[in-house]
Amino acid sequence: MSLCLCGKIFLPITFVLLLAGCSPQPGATPPSAVLGHQGRAPGAFSKPRAIAIDGLNRLAVIDRTGRIQTFDLRTLALLEEWELPSYSNGTPTGMTLDPVDDTIWLADTHYQRILHYGWDGTLLGSFGESGTGPGQMIFPTDVALDPDGETLWVVEYGHRARLMQFTRGGDFVREWTTEPYEYTDAQRPQALAIGEDGLIYVADAGVNRVLVFSREGELLRSWGEAGNAAGELWFPYDIALGPDRTLYISEWGNSRVSHFTQEGEFLGFWGIPGHDPGMLWQPWGVAIGPGGQLAVADTENHRVQLIDRPEKDFTKGTQI
């Protein structure tokens, strides 16, 4: 039986279209789970920003409604929900867990302070005041603690790009800073991560680079190029250190999470711009759980996406 010309043309096209419709888009690897949807109800999110996962597989998420919600990542059940003391100016952009007791530390960006919470919503403490002097801050974007939990690091950009060291009690120790209204290496340090080697990794959304500081606050090196090609960075908004000492960086501008070695070698990425599961829309926070599970705050899609095995699900190499 012979196939007419129309058949010869349309049958393969239909076949291809069917195939295309059935398989995910190239680069869009489905997540293990999607948590939440848009809303103000318990379990729902409005632009989730900062996230963190503790050793018990509990996820904390802060969103634009000024709420912190915690979830059990094994069952995805909502555990607790509480409100920040104030959030009309804006909400915190940075969240970190205490390496000692797993409590929650927040950089309350628009209130120029650091907040410390227990997992039941108890406010354990806070420090910080508005200003440009030593220990004062304007728009602190992230906070991180040394593995021993005794030293806090804070980045801010309000008056100048600055990395500050504090004691756990909030006493100022030292700072590394750019000149006000003049920048060379940093412009908008947006996120912090402390390596096991004690080095401080700072993602800067102004210069689109990762800056590496010594514990003495000395800038050792920096890497990253602005752009949207694989391995380039476009508004790196959060940085998380994986168990294998690699870095996961969420990119607000490129709507993806990129994976690098601590030296800046590109390993792969997850997510493409879009709204389906496996796609991201201007993500902010990224966090790594104790088992290597990765969570990303898919901010403009008002949800959190979870990737159980990033080492498997990330697209390797530079192919986009």
Partner: protein
């Protein structure tokens, strides 16, 4: 149930039927049978068409019922009654039986369909439609319901009303409902307000002489005996505050003696406060008067320190001058109207709203007020007056086209408005406001973080970037319409860092050839602060930066924005509300229009002769002016050394406007302010612009009655005799600022009257012009509608409800009423038949053609049927004979070709046939001579030809095949030629 003609007059066309028979005379060549058939067909077609035109209908009785509930939602209905109405509708809806339809229309000033009629309609007691309650228009509501009814049903309207109609005529529409077989029942909403006092009117003499006593009369009415506080304000100032006793019903007028010294228009406003008043909207009234006096002008000066030069000059020439700063520009037409001319000197366009500018333009055009604009940094195009109503009124345009090297500017705006509510909408509005200030030569561009133009958010990774609103960035604004359309689509997002957008602006502006380059940055200031070195580089290129801080999160961000403006050499704005933004952007955008300012010393050059420059022969030099262009009909009395207008004037509508593009102070006119002719020149200029004063021989009175304004003019001459047969060119400007023409007619000796629509609350200014163009007489007047008549109603109008019921033949409903009761007169349901008639007529047309064109030999038809029957039934016996089949096909083709032939072709073919017969005879003769054998071409032989010949003009295929010899072809050719000649 019957047949009915909707347009029976078209049946008269049936008399044209015999025409069909007359036409049939052309069919004489056809047989009698075919002729009769065709005649019958044509008669039938025409008859069907006539019946279709007469709109033949089939009417059957409607059985199902549709009810529309009309709910009065006007402000006169007390809240509890409005609530009761909706409860009643809910109760009524419960009585709906299957097949019944119900719908709801609510109305006030205009009707709105809450629910279209349907069998499934439900009502939860909540009205979602919003209507304006300031009027009651029953007519429109009933008309809407009548048009919303389906055709084929019984119809009922249930009208909930208090009978206080103040717009339209419900009686008229009630009659229409009755004539349309629609039942109109009324649910009266009865009330009687016990606690209401209202000011019925405030009477102030419309024209008074200065320093002469007069009386103001306030007419009050009340539902009860009570007391309250009467306050009277003159031009906003409280002048009377007293306790007043009022009796139930209409009260005698309260008389307040007054005396006014100051000329011009004066506004009076009265309020009455009484505790527990159920309707406060009707407790105020407004009126104004005009005091005749010396000519007065309002001098608005943006540069307050140098206002005395002109003020002193005008006062020296006996012109009364009121001074105002840019923030004190009048907001009402009655205020503007109180001046004979307005002077705007160095007042930026952003000091006025567009409505205010429109008011000025109307005041000039329709009320004859003069307008003078004097130059300065904030005047004409440099002051942002491009494309404004003020520009329309002035005798020069702000767009400069006549220059070889066009002065231009370039404006870039960096938009970061995402942090304020409706941020994107504001971004678009302010961008368009800035664009509107620019001229076609100016460059414009917007920079923001967001999707690239035309890409939307689906542009893939990296689509959110710092970007221009359009490529290649800065563009001249020749096509503002297209630019506006692009701006309406921009989606600026949050911005994290200042530098990249500033860098883009810098690069975009750097290489553009423009006299002034400017950047405006609007932000909350929380992106990472910019580099000072970049700001310095921008400034070094001669580009200025202004900043606007909106909703900053921290004092530091305010400082950043302020610092940026300081580095950029521009202004810093910190508006309290986003509503201030358009004004700021208009002002800032016009900075690039400063390129229109020429600052060099020059001697004014006389051009057209003018009343303003008459008597001046040697004007002093000036040191600067704003470049403008001539308007075609304007008089350009003076020009600059570069041939630009310096002094231009023209008549604009009833008023006159003047443009003096240099200034009247010591900046550009330092020689002028010391010149002895300064006062005379400016007084001559301002006097020329002034409104022609109204004649004292007219007494004018304007009052409002039932939604209409009535103006009455009494005209006498200086001897006291009536002035008759005057013609007026008059119009009224209502609260919407749109002029409406006013016809003023003579109604009695020396008395003239005109009427205009006045149902909007607000002020109505009238201007009436009569006399010759050279010596016109201008009469102005005005009246205020203080509140809508809706608020005059203090009780329901039960008599009027009864009248509506009477006109509609409906009932005023009581208890036990069921709107779904089928007690209505029968309604016939028409079904139009015309489409079917038309279709039948059209289908018969091919039948007519068939009968005319195709000859049917009934014998052959019968044979054909027999053969067909044989072939069908004999299929199992024997297959059809191939030869026979081809013969049948041949005859069919022949019949087809015959049908195609025209009469002329047939005649030509007949001629050819004759020729062929002759040819055949000749050929047969030759053959006989040669062989002595009989031939198939002889008459005898032809009868034995294998092909069967049908029809008299048909030539068999064998005939043609035998005509091949060359002699035969030549003969055919000749025959064809002959046939052609006959044609």
């Amino acid at each position: 149930m019957a047949l009915h003609f909707a347009r029976p007059e078209y049946l008269l066309l049936l008399v044209l039927l015999p025409l069909a028979w007359l036409v049939a005379r052309r069919l004489r060549t056809l047989g009698a049978g075919r002729k009769t058939t065709i005649l019958a067909l044509r008669t039938l077609i025409l008859a069907l068409l006539v019946l279709a035109l007469a709109q033949l209908e089939w009417r059957s009785r409607a059985k199902d019922l549709t009810v529309y509930f009309l709910l009065d939602q006007s402000d006169s209905i007390p809240a509890e009654l409005a609530e009761r109405s909706t409860e009643l509708v809910q109760e009524f809806m419960q009585r709906k039986t299957p097949g019944d339809e119900a719908g709801i229309i609510v109305f006030g000033r205009e009707p709105s369909v809450e629910t279209y009629a349907s069998t499934t309609a439900e009502f939860d007691g909540k009205i979602n439609s919003t209507v304006q309650g300031v009027r009651t228009d029953i007519q429109q509501a009933v008309s809407l319901a009548l048009s919303a009814f389906p055709n084929d049903r019984l119809k009922r309207l249930v009208l909930f009303t208090d009978g206080n109609e103040n717009s339209g005529s419900s009686l008229e529409v009630a009659r229409l409902a009755r004539n349309s077989n629609v039942a109109l029942d009324l649910v009266p909403l009865r009330y009687d307000e016990r606690q209401d006092v209202q000011i019925d009117k405030l009477i102030v003499p419309q024209q008074i002489a200065a320093d002469t006593p007069f009386e103001i009369k306030a007419f009050l009415s009340s539902a009860t005996n009570t007391s309250g506080r009467l306050r009277l304000y003159r031009d906003g100032e409280l002048i009377v505050d007293q306790e007043v006793e009022v009796a139930a019903g209409r009260n005698p007028p309260l008389i307040i003696p007054q005396r006014l010294e100051e000329g011009g228009f004066h506004n009076y406003r009265a309020t009455f406060e009484v505790p527990g008043d159920s309707r406060t909207q009707n407790n105020r009234a407004e009126a104004f008067t005009h005091v005749k006096d010396e000519p007065r002008v309002l001098y608005v000066e943006g540069d307050q320190t140098n206002r005395n030069y002109l003020t002193a000059a005008l006062r020296a020439e006996k012109i009364q001058v009121d001074f105002a700063s840019a923030s004190e520009i009048p907001y009402s037409l009655s205020e503007i109207q109180s001046y004979d001319s307005i002077i705007l000197s160095n007042v930026h366009a952003s000091s006025m709203s567009r409505d205010q500018m429109k008011m000025f333009e109307r005041a000039v055009h329709d009320l004859g007020v003069g307008l003078v604009m004097i130059g300065g940094e904030d005047s004409f195009g440099a002051g942002g007056y491009q494309d404004t109503p003020i520009e329309d009124a002035l005798p020069v345009t702000m767009d400069v086209k006549q220059k070889k090297v066009l002065p231009n500017g370039a404006l870039a705006i960096i938009l970061h408005t995402a942090e304020i509510p409706q941020g994107n909408a504001w971004a678009r509005d302010i961008s368009i406001a800035a664009l509107d200030v620019l001229s076609a030569q100016d460059y414009f561009g917007l920079i923001y973080y967001g999707p690239k133009p035309g890409q939307g958010f689906g542009g893939g990774a990296g689509s959110i970037v710092e970007t221009w609103s359009w490529e290649p960035g800065m563009q001249q604004t020749g096509n503002k319409r297209e630019m506006r359309s692009i701006i309406r689509g921009i989606q600026p997002m949050d911005m994290q860092v200042f530098d990249p957008t500033m860098e883009i602006a810098y690069q975009g502006l750097k290489d553009i050839k423009a006299q002034a380059k400017h950047i405006i940055i609007i932000s909350d200031g929380d992106p990472a602060p910019p580099k000072q070195t970049l700001a310095n580089a921008i400034r070094d290129e001669g580009i200025t930066i202004s900043t606007v801080a909106i909703a900053p999160h921290h004092g530091q961000t305010v400082e950043t924005m302020e610092r940026l403006a300081y580095w950029g050499g521009g202004e810093f704005y910190y508006p309290k509300s986003a509503t201030e933004l358009p004004r700021i952007f208009i002002k800032e955008a016009s900075i690039v229009r400063r390129s229109l300012i020429y600052e060099e010393r020059f001697d004014p050059v006389y051009d057209a002769p003018s009343e303003i420059t008459a008597g001046f022969f040697d004007l002093p030099a000036l040191e600067g002016y704003v470049v403008t262009s001539d308007k075609e009909l304007a008089t350009i009395a003076l020009r600059s050394h570069k041939d630009d207008p310096l002094l231009a004037h023209w008549r604009y509508g009833l008023g006159k406007t003047v443009a003096f593009t240099s200034d009247a102070k010591n900046k550009w006119a330092s020689d002028w302010v010391q010149w002895t002719g300064f006062s005379k020149y400016w007084s001559q200029l301002v006097r020329w612009s002034m409104r022609e004063t109204s004649s004292s021989n007219f007494q004018v009175n304007t009052e409002l009655r039932g939604g209409k304004g009535i103006v009455t003019l009494d005209a006498v001459d200086i001897d006291g005799d009536f002035r008759n047969f005057l013609e007026f060119n008059a119009n009224v400007i209502g609260p919407d600022m749109e002029p409406q023409p006013l016809t003023v007619r003579q109604v009695a000796p020396g008395r003239y009257q005109g009427e205009f629509d006045a149902d909007e609350v607000g002020t109505y200014m009238l201007s009436m012009r009569t006399g010759e163009d050279e010596q016109p007489e201008l009469i102005t007047s005005g009246v205020s509608l203080s509140y809508s008549p809706e608020y005059q109603a203090v009780r329901s109008n039960d008599e009027f409800i009864d009248r509506i019921a009477k006109e509609s033949n409906g009932t005023v409903v009581g208890s036990g009423y069921n709107p779904f009761e089928r007690n209505l007169p029968p309604t016939e349901r028409p079904r139009p038949l015309w489409p079917w008639l038309l279709l039948a007529g059209l289908l018969l047309v091919p039948a007519d053609v068939f009968v005319r064109r195709v000859y049917l030999d009934w014998g052959d038809v019968a044979a054909g049927i027999r053969k067909y029957a044989g072939s069908v039934f004999g299929i199992f016996r024997k297959g059809p004979d191939v030869e026979q089949r081809s013969e049948s096909m041949g005859s069919l083709f022949a019949a087809k070709s015959r049908a195609k032939q025209t009469d002329e072709e047939r005649q030509a073919a007949a001629a050819q046939q004759q020729d062929r017969s002759a040819l055949r005879e000749r050929l047969a003769q030759q053959a006989q001579e040669k062989q002595g054998e009989p031939s198939v071409f002889t008459e005898e032989g032809r009868g034995q030809a294998p092909a069967r010949v049908q029809g008299k003009q048909t030539v068999s295929a064998s005939d043609a095949s035998e005509e091949k010899p060359s002699g035969g072809l030549a003969g055919l050719k000749k025959a064809k030629e002959r046939a052609r000649k006959k044609m």
